[in-house]
């Protein structure tokens, strides 16, 4: 007897249970797009190199093109379609919209899912490759533009909207921090105007150094 090549599985997506038959070769990405009509998750490379298919799996970001659908059974999956609460956009979505953190929009769902996870990872104290002090007692490093760039680097944007994406992530992170505590000065300073001012300050400094 030949072994079965498809199975019925139940996926927990955006708070709903969805039961569907899947070919065992089907990736989570294709299951979302082709079987469940959740086409917000994008296919950019289908081999884990671009980040367009990023979703949250049990709260952590993952590239859904490298995940078989059958292996996602029983886990909590959050896609871009599950980010807003009704008509109220997630703060990260709102920041992308307001600050034009995109152009063609194709990498955008992956960028947003990644950004939501980045803000959580940072708040939980995870260091990155550019974090200066990685001792646990040091606590979360300031979420500087450099930290955001490093942490978001798994998500390519060919239109080159990185500058506004970083601003959007900073703004959303600042909002979260403001809401939850007294606010973080470095994060607070990372809005569009402040970043531009910083660029000018660097320019002035460079001028001094050269002079």
């Amino acid at each position: 007897m030949t072994p079965p090549t498809s199975s019925a599985i139940t996926l927990h997506i955006n708070g709903e249970k969805r039961t569907l038959p899947v070919d065992h070769r089907t990736t989570l990405l294709d299951a979302l797009r082709e079987k469940l009509d959740l086409t917000g998750t994008k296919k950019g490379c289908d081999q884990g190199q671009c980040g367009a298919c990023t979703v949250l799996l049990d709260g952590r970001r993952t590239v859904s093109c490298l995940q078989l659908a059958v292996a996602a059974e029983g886990r909590e999956i959050t896609t871009i379609e599950g980010m807003a609460e009704g008509d109220r956009l997630h703060p990260v979505q709102q920041a992308f919209l307001d600050l034009d953190g995109y152009q063609c929009g194709y990498c955008t769902p992956g960028q947003i899912c990644s950004a939501v996870a980045v803000i959580e990872e940072h708040a939980a104290g995870w260091p990155s490759a550019v974090t200066d002090d990685v001792r646990p007692e040091a606590g979360p490093p300031p979420l500087t533009p450099e930290e955001i760039r490093e942490r978001m680097s798994g998500n390519l944007c060919r239109c080159g909207a990185y500058v506004s994406i970083v601003e959007a992530v900073a703004r959303a992170a600042a909002g979260r921090t403001t809401a939850e505590s007294a606010g973080h000065p470095t994060v607070e300073a990372a809005g569009r105007t402040a970043v531009e001012a910083a660029g000018r300050a660097t320019a002035a400094k460079a001028g001094e150094a050269a002079a």
Binding site: C45, Y106, R158, G207
Partner: protein, 708 residues
């Protein structure tokens, strides 16, 4: 930023994208995301041979695999006609005439399409399909010594020349003579090319991702010998294009299969297939010779560029064209040549010609400034031409100097020590560089339909394409102002060939061309409404066609200009180059939506970083195919590569455009790579004349040496 002229209403104020909410919630559907009942999936099979003939396609075993519906190849595919002239006035690249014969002109040539019930089945069957080839020796060697190179016109004359070059060079006190190279570069829009074709009530309906729906419809109609009224192409959301999204193998394959199977068929290119099927920018080998007086005034200028094309179609990357608008000299010669090799046909890629051409020319200007011991900006100001250097025509406007002045002030250029290798930050050597930018400002004929609805709102229908430029939003603002209403009362519908002929999203001409058609229609609609006969339930619709108006434009040198500035840090120990900041100041016509315009310009500059430091497609001489044809093997700039970039503009409305637009899609990349390379020279004392400036090249060149 100087005060903008004559602001009226919505144009000139920042507006979030009208489709922005759909894009951030995942609701915006791209080409491969529209569901169809009975949809079948096609998977292309590409040649592993680099040249030769197909001996056989072993379709039998594959047809027995689960779910497989058909295998199309040169023995089974319907015939198409590729002997025509398309909407843009050029014949099609025969590469889109799929499966018409057994010839294989390059590695990655499409040899078959496997269609199955599911994409998993189609993919497995396509990978299992055995194709036998009769291989012939191939030639992919691209070098300056090619004796078979020849001049090609493309969209401009191949060669322009005036004056006695040899004599003026011999008389020149200062001479620069250098060769610059740029590699093969790929567009890599984030959304892979995708199309679903189906027959619906006797009409061919193609849901596609393209840069011009009427353009693609026209080509498909001619290829398949169909009545124009029986072809509809839609392309509502497009995940990036950059020149690559015209007629390609995927649409043709989908149409063939859906015709044969009489059901909807979707064909999506894989990322790897895009490297062979989506077009690319040819590598270039450029030689620039400059002769100047001691004060930097140019007496001789020669720019020669060699690019490659396939054996089946002539395409030229006109890199030598940039000097025709930028700098004059008593003796002036520019020439574009190509060599034909066993490779896919290249195509337009963001700022074709200007992007690689400005790298060579603006690097050479920097070399000249150094030799003359004058400031690079002063050198450019000294060589500002009064009229077109080749054409002799007046410039419609030329605000390059104003861009440099504003940029120099904001960048802190005045305090720069021109001596190379003088600044350090720990292990990093620091340097700054600048370069000029230009890109032609043009418009193409378009039609638009504007409807005054009975409820007081307006609907615009135009076969425009928003590939991320923000065109949909810009056109909404333009229509609102032209109709003297609020943007919220205007709905702009685009991306449908049924809306009539329109310019493509290309050549930085899309928004200007479409805005023109909308402005004309709006004027007539307002007159009709003013006549005051009320609005019937079906609304009042007015159509416009700008063909005559654009044809009547006076001949002038029409360009956008810009000044690029970059600061880099170079790690002499690892060879790593980091861009620390960039500033671009542009004179690029009226800016319709500052929010999205900034994205266009910064996006172009980001491409400049990517071009200067990262992008390079490498071909294997033995197989004729790519090494690492994916986003790991071909690095495009990522978040961590891109610092804060500022782009701004000076007031520069085009005097002959109804809205004052020039176009901003491409100028951001022009000169950007040269500014970075010039900054690397300033940091290290080494001139890098080959892109990308890879760590191994920096290490091999060392620091402080004269040349790399």
């Amino acid at each position: 930023m100087t005060a903008p002229t004559a602001l009226r209403g919505a144009v000139g104020t920042a507006h979030a994208r009208v489709e922005g909410r759909d894009k951030v919630t995942g609701a915006a559907r791209y080409a491969a995301e529209i569901p169809f009942a009975e949809l079948a999936h096609g998977w292309l099979v590409l040649s592993t041979a680099a040249r030769g003939r197909i001996r056989s396609v072993e379709a039998g075993p594959v047809l027995d695999m689960p779910g497989v519906l058909t295998v199309l190849h040169h023995g089974t595919a319907p015939r198409v006609d590729s002997e025509y002239i398309g909407m843009l006035g050029v014949p099609p690249d025969p590469s889109v005439a799929l499966f018409q014969n057994d010839r294989v002109p390059h590695a990655g040539w499409p040899v078959a399409l496997v269609v199955a019930e599911t994409s998993e089945q189609a993919r497995e069957a396509a990978e299992a399909l055995v194709v036998h080839y009769e291989e012939e020796p191939h030639d992919i060697g691209f070098d300056a010594g090619r004796t078979d190179a020849y001049p090609v016109d493309g969209h401009m004359p191949a060669v322009t020349e005036k004056g006695d070059l040899a004599a003026r060079l011999a008389e020149s006190a200062v001479v620069v003579d250098a060769e610059y190279t740029t590699p093969e570069e790929h567009h890599n829009p984030m959304e892979p090319h995708a199309a679903t074709a189906r027959w619906d009530g006797g009409r061919l309906d193609v849901v596609d991702s393209n840069q011009g729906s009427t353009w693609v419809a026209d080509e498909l109609c001619k290829l398949f010998s169909l009545d124009p009224a029986s072809v509809r192409v839609r392309s509502e959301h497009v995940g990036g294009g950059f020149g690559s999204k015209g007629v390609r193998a995927h649409q043709v394959a989908a149409v063939m299969a859906s015709t044969l199977l009489q059901r909807p068929v979707r064909v999506v290119l894989t990322r790897r297939q895009m490297f062979s099927l989506a077009g690319y920018r040819s590598p270039t080998i450029q030689r620039v010779r400059l002769g100047a007086d001691p004060d930097g005034r140019l007496r001789a200028l020669e720019h020669e560029s060699l690019s490659l094309t396939s054996t089946v179609y002539e395409f030229v990357e006109p890199s030598a064209g940039v000097a025709r608008a930028m700098y004059d000299a008593d003796a002036h010669r520019t020439a574009n040549q190509v060599v034909r090799l066993d490779v896919p046909t290249p195509t337009w890629m963001r700022a074709p010609g200007e992007a690689p051409g400005s790298f060579a020319l603006e690097s050479a200007l920097d070399e000249l400034a150094e030799k003359c011991r004058i400031d690079p900006i002063a050198l450019r100001v000294r060589n500002e031409p009064g009229t077109g250097p080749v054409s002799g025509l007046p410039f419609s406007s030329r605000n390059l100097v104003a861009c440099f002045e504003e940029g120099a002030r904001r960048f802190g250029w005045a305090d720069r020590d021109p001596r190379p290798g003088m600044r350090r930050d720990g292990r990093w050597l620091l340097g700054t560089g600048t370069a000029a930018a230009s890109f032609p400002a043009g418009a193409g004929p378009s039609t638009a339909a504007l409807t005054a609805e009975a409820d007081g709102s307006f609907t615009v229908r135009i076969a425009a394409s928003d590939i991320g430029t923000g065109a949909r939003t810009a056109l909404t603002l333009i229509a609102a102002d032209a109709l003297e209403t609020a943007p919220e009362r205007v709905r702009v519908r685009i991306g449908d060939s049924d809306f009539g002929p329109a310019m493509i999203a290309g050549g930085s001409m899309g928004t200007r061309s479409w805005a023109w058609a909308i402005t004309v229609a709006a004027g007539e609609l307002r007159e009709r409404l003013a006549a005051g006969n009320g609005i019937p339930p079906e609304g009042v619709t007015v159509r416009s066609d700008t063909t005559a108006a654009i044809g009547a434009l006076a001949q002038k040198e029409r360009h956008s200009f810009g000044a690029q500035f970059a600061e880099v840090a170079v790690d002499a120990g690892t060879g790593e180059v980091r861009v620390r900041r960039m500033l671009g100041i542009f004179a690029a016509g009226r800016i319709v939506n500052p929010l999205t315009a900034r994205g266009q310009l910064v996006g172009g500059m980001t491409w400049g970083i990517s071009m200067a430091l990262h992008e390079e497609a490498v071909r294997d001489r033995v197989s004729g195919g790519h090494v690492g044809a994916d986003l790991a093997g071909y690095h495009v700039a990522s978040h961590a590569d891109v610092p804060h970039i500022e782009a701004d503009w000076i007031d520069d409305p085009d005097p002959d455009d109804p809205v004052g637009i020039k176009g901003i899609g491409e100028i951001g990349i022009v000169g950007a790579a040269a500014a970075i390379a010039n900054a690397v020279r300033h940091a290290t004392g080494v001139r890098h004349r080959s892109l990308p400036i890879r760590p191994d090249r920096v290490l091999a060149a060392g620091t402080g040496a004269q040349d790399a």
